[in-house]
């Protein structure tokens, strides 16, 4: 009996050896093809995560940004082939509009990338940085990128959630912050960046945020806030402290061989061939002989008329338009153009027969800031300012091959600056915000202007713009997830 029992135990012993062969290590698995957050430690890690914050830019700026600026405005017709983009053309969009949601989504992705860079770099202390301010610069570059994204958020939506860290202290369901506070944060971020960054980009790398870029964006932000004195201060710093000069030939601003010109203040960088990130979206504006894509935006009749009315037919006109007969789908507002004849494609970006368009995308250039200074001078409105405005306006007109302006009074000049900005900066995503400022200043009535648009046979396009359309709706998709975003903007 005894023996039997012992025998039993012996069997269990043998088994025990076999059965408990697995140790705790066996269950310890961590990601192999990705990094865990918080695992960055070196100066080069810090550069890498900053590179990632730049990498997050093209999604919004090379695509969605065009719809809510050029497309919605009187500059272009949206020629989309689905029910998402078209409503932006004729103001039938609702909060469930996919293109609006995409813009919102991409901007917050960009902000998350910038915040992640700021958070991770703040924790890194590498002796390689001793005696330099590179760590502060990295944070400043990321801060600039974040401010840029907030500039578009606040100007497009008004009150928006203000998120300043990668996980927002665990609050995944933020409420909206008032536009004033968002603007204040943008100003703070940009002033911080301005203080730390140099005039020339770090390491001579074009594409990085610089002191000048921070100042230019400060000027644009103040303008949108209606704070023209501060706008003018920063315009002047950009103009006077440079290091930017106008390119003599407008045509030399565009094309693969004219990247990072002397006029360029901040420019999204794209390799001429083999871009490692998605920028094909710019390509949807340009004519391609073999495309069947309905190019998303075609110059409007009103835009072409504006050039003609101004007598602008030089390099600026030829750089802006590429007149071609399209073999592709044609789905813009009815009778906007005759599909069997040449229509004005965007000429500022070259065509590439692959999805990767090799053009850089100019985000801010000196002409924008000069004309913004003119606008600020006009709005401040003293005679000295008006004179200065006239000079600034003429500087741009002369480059375009036009005569000096004939505008004299404040209101004439205000209108002249608005027109000049349109001709100079079309396809550079300034028009929608320009119209909003002009409307606020009483220069034009934006709603009337949009609703009086006609097609090429001079028939009304019957846009249904209302006052509330100046702000976009908070996307329904996000409201459904986060009720704290309610109430939506008026009208939606």
């Amino acid at each position: 009996m005894m023996k039997k029992n012992i025998l039993k135990y012996a069997h269990f012993l043998v088994l025990a050896i076999i059965l408990t062969s697995c140790s705790q290590d066996f269950l310890d698995k961590s990601p192999e093809s990705q990094l865990a957050a918080g695992s960055l430690t070196t100066a080069s890690d810090a550069e890498s995560i900053l590179n990632g914050a730049y990498n997050a830019m093209p999604d919004y700026y090379s695509y969605s940004n065009f719809f809510t600026t050029e497309g919605m405005s009187d500059n272009t017709y949206i020629n989309g082939d689905n029910n998402v983009e078209q409503p932006l053309e004729n103001f039938t969009f609702t909060s469930s509009n996919g293109e609006i949601q995409l813009s919102w989504q991409e901007l917050y992705k960009h902000i998350t990338a910038a915040n992640t860079a700021i958070d991770n770099v703040t924790l890194i202390n590498d002796p390689k940085w001793d005696g330099t301010n590179r760590k502060a610069q990295i944070i400043a570059e990321a801060t600039f990128l974040r401010a840029f994204a907030y500039y578009w958020l606040v100007t497009s939506w008004g009150n928006v959630p203000l998120i300043l860290s990668s996980n927002n202290a665990g609050n995944y369901y933020p409420s909206r912050t008032s536009a004033d506070l968002v603007y204040a944060q943008i100003i703070k971020d940009l002033k911080d960046a301005e203080a730390v960054l140099d005039n020339n980009p770090y390491h001579g790398d074009y594409g990085r945020a610089t002191k000048g870029a921070a100042r230019a964006l400060l000027a644009k932000t103040y303008a949108q806030m209606g704070d023209y004195p501060n706008c003018l201060i920063y315009c002047n710093k950009v103009i006077e402290e440079g290091p930017y000069t106008l390119v003599a030939d407008y045509a030399k601003l565009w094309g693969l061989s004219n990247k990072n010109s002397s006029e360029s203040i901040f420019e999204l960088q794209v390799p001429t061939t083999g871009s490692p990130y998605n920028v094909w979206k710019i390509n949807v504006l340009s004519y391609g002989p073999f495309d069947n894509w309905p190019k998303r935006q075609i110059g409007s009749y009103d835009l072409v008329k504006a050039f003609n009315d101004a007598g602008d037919n030089g390099a600026r006109y030829t750089s802006t338009f590429n007149w071609q007969v399209t073999g592709a789908s044609f789905n813009m507002p009815f009778n906007a153009w005759n599909p069997t004849q040449a229509i004005p494609f965007c000429g500022k970006f070259s065509y590439s027969d692959t999805w990767t368009n090799g053009d850089n995308l100019i985000m801010i250039r000196l002409a924008d800031i000069i004309l913004l200074a003119a606008e600020a001078n006009v709005q401040i409105g003293n005679q000295a300012n008006l004179d200065a405005a006239k000079n600034q306006l003429n500087q741009i007109r002369i480059r375009a091959g036009l005569a000096n302006t004939t505008a004299v009074t404040k209101s004439e000049l205000a209108l002249a600056v608005l027109k000049e900005r349109r001709l100079e900066l079309v396809y550079e995503r300034t028009r929608w915000n320009d119209l909003k400022r002009a409307d606020a200043n009483g220069t034009i009535n934006m709603v009337n202007l949009m609703n009086s648009q006609v097609n090429s046979s001079l028939q009304p396009l019957n846009y249904g713009m209302q006052e509330f359309h100046k702000l976009l709706p908070i996307p329904l998709g996000d409201i459904q997830i986060n009720k704290n975003l309610l109430p939506n903007n008026t009208g939606y």
Partner: protein, 1008 residues
């Protein structure tokens, strides 16, 4: 010293066995059946030895045997009997048909059990008919056969996946069951050829499934046993069938003049169709052009045999299934090998390999035409679009496209690109089993699963405008999964008088590694070379590696007293790398008891009722987080986010990935209670089983889509509250007629399941069921997880019909419950009639009370855009006063355009339809040709048969087919989705899903 001795004793006891020898003599005999006919191929074993023989063609045998020995005579379908020789040299033995109902053994986790001793809810599925039916996937064999189990096909795509739900839906990640094939845990049965399945048993409650713990037991466990060789004469079987498949119905769409009328209403003026299109002469019926009568054929050959000490089974299979959409097909080449051998009387070992290689050419479905969806393109491409652009078009010769929108025509989507997948699936196991002293059995089993798949896509650079704009393009994607599993069990079986014990303890370790790679290129000079070495631009590459592991300890204790009272306890402890690092281990206990009332004294005189048993069970089961997040603990950063400063210098970068970590992510675990009753009547010719269950899942794992303001992040979380499934299952098996020449057997099963989310804060809800409409890349959510509603609840606006004054759809003011995609009840009804060699069987299955979101209609009844639409829109509102259910064309005038545009973008009851159906799933007629003719041919059996699948389906659904679940096949469970992050469940959504087919086949089964 003692230990060493004991060890040696143990070792010897395993390796050697001792036989007693006695005086031998030649004994002759004959084996007869109940009717006195001789039984060829019966096995005669001399008990206590390994000596055996089989009867010849006339039932005779001859063997040298000890005259004091005992013969054990066995033959399939007959009870094994023991006949003491008692000195006789000529013996006649009569076999008796096995009373199967009593002795039926069911496979349970890590063992088997007499069916009458089972104390938990287990369904045994009859798979005898599988070889006569055009069954492609192993799980299809379960359809309609078991109560509490719903099998639905996700799409009619050849080789398409099926979705299985055991007792409702146990997880917001889909809730597919765990499969265990010959002991191998697996999340799919791709490697299994259905022709090689011996039996399928489904463990439904916690007491049965709990022994598999967190591996997925919450969603039920499907145990598949593959065929093994049987003792006796070697058997070779050849099975061949061929047949055709057809689409069940087509959907009527507008002709050219109807399309022009609609466009004129939308635009306010006639559409400007360029002259190179021919509105009169070109009338392409795209559905006729892409749907075909498709062939399906299959050949299976198996040979098997066995001796007293070992057996083998070898199966080879070939399947060729064309899709009913041209250009889609699925081919499978399979091999199955199963070998078992007794090394000594104490030790046996064996193993099996299930391998197949599949070749698939697929077409895109479940997508709008803009994203390549062929099914939708065939509906929305207007009839005037030519197949190829004519010579006066701007780019002649390419596939025809509209001048209004960029989607390609369906033939272009099928033929201007290649979509090929080649996969290898291998599932194998080896084991050694040793009988130890004291009735202990030790078994160690090592399993391996290898799955790899290579997907190749090629877009022709010339044949379509789409291809031209990028100069073609190609993708080559690969993934490989390798998993090993090592199980060790120790089993103790002993009876002490009226007490019987069956105890098992064991360990299990699983480790899986997954590797994938993607490669892309464009810029092809020619379509003749389609491999990526021919690409010249847009190169994109990526590889990823993932690994996970699980370590488990488990045990089960079965106790029976006096064959009346039965008790089972199981326990499993699992640790896994797939849960949060703060909660690695989980425990899963279960208890159940059964009372065989009919074995009580007071039932002795009750003759009309047999096997009355009640059983009660309680336990916990578990489920791992989905594959989409294999490292849920970590917030992840993506490497490979470069930026090209100076427009040239590419600097590598890092940016946030979408996953935010949750180190507290726990298993899903369910607490289940089951009460069951089993009873037989009329000498067990009528058997009835009833079960009531209550399954409460807590810590539901949900991949939460966080607000877009987080950078579109997701995180895996355990939802508050519970997913409760409760229901009843009834099953009745009857041998209605059991005559000498004519038999009729029947099974009817009924299942009712009520699913509810409980215990979630009223103000909290989670969206699921995302769909993309038209060219939109932003999802609309159709479903919700919300307190008091079932999973799969459609959530949207109630449509109150068309306003006769404005022609617009009128909606309610708020989002409301629009019904659930889960059925209220399901019914299966199968019958088999046999008259001599002729047999007729049919299977009816019915699903009632489920809703389908017909997202296809959002496009083909959208009443806007330039695409073609369904003839439903002919009934559209045209002028004030019109009473109709179809709203007006959009863009007609300027009033209320915003509201009109919502027609397509609003999730509403307008698109919700009843998905109930009642269908003749299968009807098979077969004839077993009389033996005397067959024997002349030198065969031992010959059967011819014909079947029809989905012959008729009664339903009210407006789309192609009501059984549709294009996004619900539980891909979250599958390794190919490792690390894909998002995993929102969608149930019952039809979004241009590949339609199901009717199938007619005829075949022959030859036994050599």
């Amino acid at each position: 010293m003692k230990l060493t001795k004991m060890f040696i004793f143990c070792f010897l006891s395993i390796v050697f066995s001792v036989y007693s020898q006695a005086q031998d003599a030649v004994v002759k005999g004959k084996v007869l059946d109940e009717t006195g006919m001789s039984v060829p191929g019966a096995s005669i074993l001399i008990k206590g030895t390994s000596k055996s023989t089989t009867t010849d063609f006339d039932g005779n045998f001859e063997i040298k045997a000890p005259l004091n020995g005992v013969f054990a005579i066995s033959f399939v379908g007959y009870a094994t009997i023991e006949e003491p020789i008692k000195g006789r040299k000529d013996i006649t033995i009569k076999l008796k048909t096995e009373s199967q109902k009593l002795e039926e053994v069911v496979v349970i986790g890590y063992g088997s059990q007499k069916k009458t001793d089972v104390t938990s809810a287990i369904s045994s599925v009859k798979v005898k008919d599988v070889s006569d039916r055009p069954i492609v996937s192993a799980v299809e064999a379960i359809t309609g056969k078991s109560s509490g189990v719903q099998v639905s096909s996700s799409s009619g795509s050849p080789g398409g996946a099926l979705s299985v739900r055991v007792r409702g839906i146990g997880s917001p990640n889909g809730g597919e069951p765990l499969y265990v094939v010959d002991g191998v845990l697996t999340s799919n049965v791709k490697a299994i050829d259905p022709n090689n399945i011996e039996s399928i048993n489904i463990l439904k409650d916690a007491s049965a499934a709990g022994i598999y713990g967190a591996a997925g037991s919450t969603n039920g466990v499907v145990l598949i046993t593959t065929k093994k060789g049987k003792k006796g004469k070697p058997r070779t079987e050849i099975n061949f069938y061929g047949g055709v498949q057809q689409i069940v119905k087509k959907l009527p769409v507008l002709n050219n003049s109807q399309w022009v009328d609609l466009q004129t209403e939308i635009l306010g003026t006639a559409p400007n169709v360029p002259s190179y299109y021919d509105l009169q002469g070109t009338n392409n019926n795209w559905q006729d052009l892409i749907y075909r009568t498709a062939a399906q054929s299959s050949v299976n050959v198996s040979t098997s045999g066995g001796s007293d000490t070992g057996n083998y089974y070898l199966g080879l299979g070939y399947l060729n299934q064309e899709g009913i959409i041209v250009g889609s097909n699925f081919k499978r080449y399979s091999l199955n090998l199963n070998v078992n051998q007794d090394v000594t009387s104490k030790i046996k070992f064996g193993g099996s390999i299930n391998y197949n290689r599949t070749n698939q050419r697929s077409i895109t479905d479940n997508a709008s035409a803009n994203f390549g969806g062929v099914v939708l393109s065939a509906l929305v491409t207007p009839e005037y679009i030519p197949i190829y652009m004519p010579s006066n078009a701007p780019i002649p010769g390419v596939y025809g496209v509209s001048n209004f929108y960029s989607g390609e025509n369906p033939l272009a989507l099928i033929y201007n690109n290649e979509n090929k997948t080649i996969a290898n699936n291998l599932l194998g196991s080896t084991y050694v089993e040793a009988k130890l002293p004291l009735n202990l059995t030790f078994k160690t089993q090592l399993n391996g699963v290898v799955q790899n798949s290579k997907y190749d896509y090629f877009l022709d650079p010339y044949s379509s405008l789409n291809g031209r704009s990028s100069q073609g393009g190609a993708d080559s994607n690969y993934y490989e999964v390798f998993r090993w599993q090592w199980d060790n069990t120790l089993n103790y079986k002993q009876n002490f008088g009226e007490h019987s014990f069956d105890v098992i303890v064991g360990t299990s370790a699983v480790n899986e590694s997954i590797a994938n790679s993607t490669q892309h290129g464009a810029g092809f000079a020619t379509s003749a070379v389609q491999t990526l070495n021919a690409a010249s631009s847009d190169f994109q590459i990526g590889t990823g590696e993932y690994e996970w592991s699980t370590n488990s300890y488990f045990g089960r204790f079965n106790y029976g007293y006096d064959n009346k009272y039965l008790f089972t306890a199981t326990f499993r402890r699992d640790g896994s790398s797939r849960v949060g690092t703060n909660v690695v281990y989980g425990n899963f206990p279960a208890l159940s008891a059964g009372w065989k009332i009919s074995n009580e004294k007071f039932m002795e005189n009750v003759k009309w009722m047999q096997n009355l048993k009640v059983r009660v069970g309680w336990g916990k089961t578990g489920n791992l987080p989905p594959y989409t997040m294999l490292y849920p603990t970590y917030s992840l950063l993506n490497v490979g986010a470069p930026y090209a400063y100076n427009s040239t210098d590419i600097a590598p970068g890092i940016k946030p990935a979408s996953q935010l970590g949750n180190p507290d992510l726990k298993w899903e675990s369910a607490t289940q209670t089951n009460i069951g009753l089993e009873v037989g009547f009329f000498d067990s010719r009528l058997n009835f089983t009833a079960d009531y269950y209550h399954k409460k899942v807590e810590d539901m794992i949900f991949t939460l889509q966080l607000p877009l303001t987080t950078g579109s992040s997701v995180t895996a979380m355990n939802l508050p509250g519970y997913d409760v499934n409760k229901g009843i299952e009834l099953s009745l098996d009857a041998d209605i007629i059991k005559g000498d020449n004519f038999t009729w057997s029947s099974n009817v099963n009924f299942s009712k399941n009520i699913n509810r989310i409980e215990g979630i804060d009223e103000s909290t809800s989670f969206q699921t069921g995302p769909i993309l409409i038209g060219g939109s890349q932003v999802p609309l959510y159709t479903q919700i997880i919300k307190n008091g509603y079932p999973l799969g609840t459609f959530w949207g606006y109630k449509s109150e019909g068309v306003d006769p004054q404005t022609g617009n759809l009128v909606y309610g003011n708020e989002l409301v419950n629009l019904g659930s995609a889960l059925p209220k009840y399901t019914v299966g009804f199968s019958n088999e009639f046999a008259y001599k060699g002729l047999s007729l069987s049919f299977l009816i299955d019915a699903v009632q009370g489920n809703k389908v979101y017909n997202a296809t209609r959002m496009e083909i009844e959208g009443l806007s855009g330039y695409a073609n639409e369904s003839t439903e829109v002919l009934n559209r509102w045209k002028q004030p006063g019109d009473i109709t259910s179809v709203p007006r064309a959009l863009g007609n005038g300027t009033t209320n355009t915003g509201a009109a545009a919502m027609l397509q973008n609003k999730v509403s009851s307008h698109y919700i339809e009843d998905g109930s159906f009642f269908r003749l799933r299968n009807i098979t007629l077969s004839y077993q040709i009389e033996k005397k003719f067959v024997e002349k041919l030198g065969l031992s059996g010959l059967k011819i048969y014909g079947t029809a699948q989905n012959l008729f389906t009664i339903h009210n659904y407006k789309g192609y087919y009501p059984e549709v679940n294009g996004f619900g096949q539980g891909t979250n469970n599958q390794a190919e989705n490792a690390g894909s992050g998002s995993s929102l469940m969608s149930l019952g959504i039809d979004r241009g899903t590949y339609p199901a087919a009717k199938i007619f086949t005829a075949g022959v089964n030859i036994q050599l």
